[in-house]
């Protein structure tokens, strides 16, 4: 019975990871990925590994989405002048 919370969080993580793969637009993938980071931290906490959860939270909730969004923005900006030239 006490495993119910583990099952719930595992199901959420599995569904969220699948959703992150299925999305096509990189910006939307980054959004789902940030939710996945928070859910993974909850999973690690439920599995009694709060130290791993802390680092996952620090990296997954803010840093990874920031890097991805900066890359997407840079690429879009670089692509725009070429399209205008054509």
């Amino acid at each position: 019975m006490s495993d119910a919370v583990i099952v719930v969080v595992l199901l959420l993580v599995a569904a969220c990871a699948t959703a992150a793969v299925v999305q096509r637009d990189p910006a939307r993938q980054a959004l789902v990925l940030s939710v996945l980071g928070v859910l993974l931290a909850a999973l690690f906490t439920v599995l009694q590994a709060p130290d791993v959860g802390l680092s996952q939270l620090a990296v997954g909730s803010a840093l990874t989405p920031l890097l991805i969004m900066l890359c997407v923005r840079k690429i879009r900006r670089r692509g725009r002048p070429k399209e205008d030239a054509r």
Binding site: V5, L31, V32, L54, P65
Partner: protein, 150 residues
């Protein structure tokens, strides 16, 4: 399984399902709101879990999430501002519902813990969670026009 873990399971299940549904469907504005909701749903659940497992050290996770969750949302609010400015992502009913959930969890835990250092820490986490949630919602709704663009 005690009541605290049961409450955390309900918060995680309900909040997580709503966040997943919101973040995978609909226009970009709704997705960012759902991403913001993830912080305000998981943070009270982490607090409840820490009480349920009887490990006060687990409160640190909720503290870090309350600090970094709004930062992540502000990243999206800043870098997706082109998509957001068309629609204006405002959902104040949802924002205050989430803030009420966090406040209810913090008050219940404060009653259980009793006065002392742990209670001060819980109150700090609650204040950070609610203020971060409101600031991120305001940024998403276009409340800070001065820092936008660019």
């Amino acid at each position: 399984m005690n009541g605290w873990i049961l409450a955390a399971t309900v918060a995680l299940g309900g909040g997580g399902a709503a966040v997943l549904w919101g973040v995978t469907t609909g226009p970009p504005a709704r997705r960012v709101i759902a991403q913001n909701l993830a912080t305000s749903a998981v943070c009270p659940a982490l607090l409840l879990l820490s009480q349920g497992y009887g490990r006060p050290a687990y409160v640190d996770l909720a503290l870090l999430l309350a600090l970094l969750g709004p930062v992540g949302t502000l990243v999206f609010a800043r870098l997706l501002c082109d998509d957001l400015s068309e629609e204006g992502a405002s959902a104040w009913a949802l924002t205050w519902t989430a803030a009420g959930l966090g406040a209810a969890a913090v008050v219940a835990l404060c009653v259980a813990v009793g006065p002392g250092r742990a209670m001060v820490k819980l109150l700090v986490v609650g204040a950070l969670l609610i203020s971060g949630n409101v600031i991120a919602s305001r940024a998403l709704a276009g409340g800070f026009r001065g820092v936008r663009g660019g």
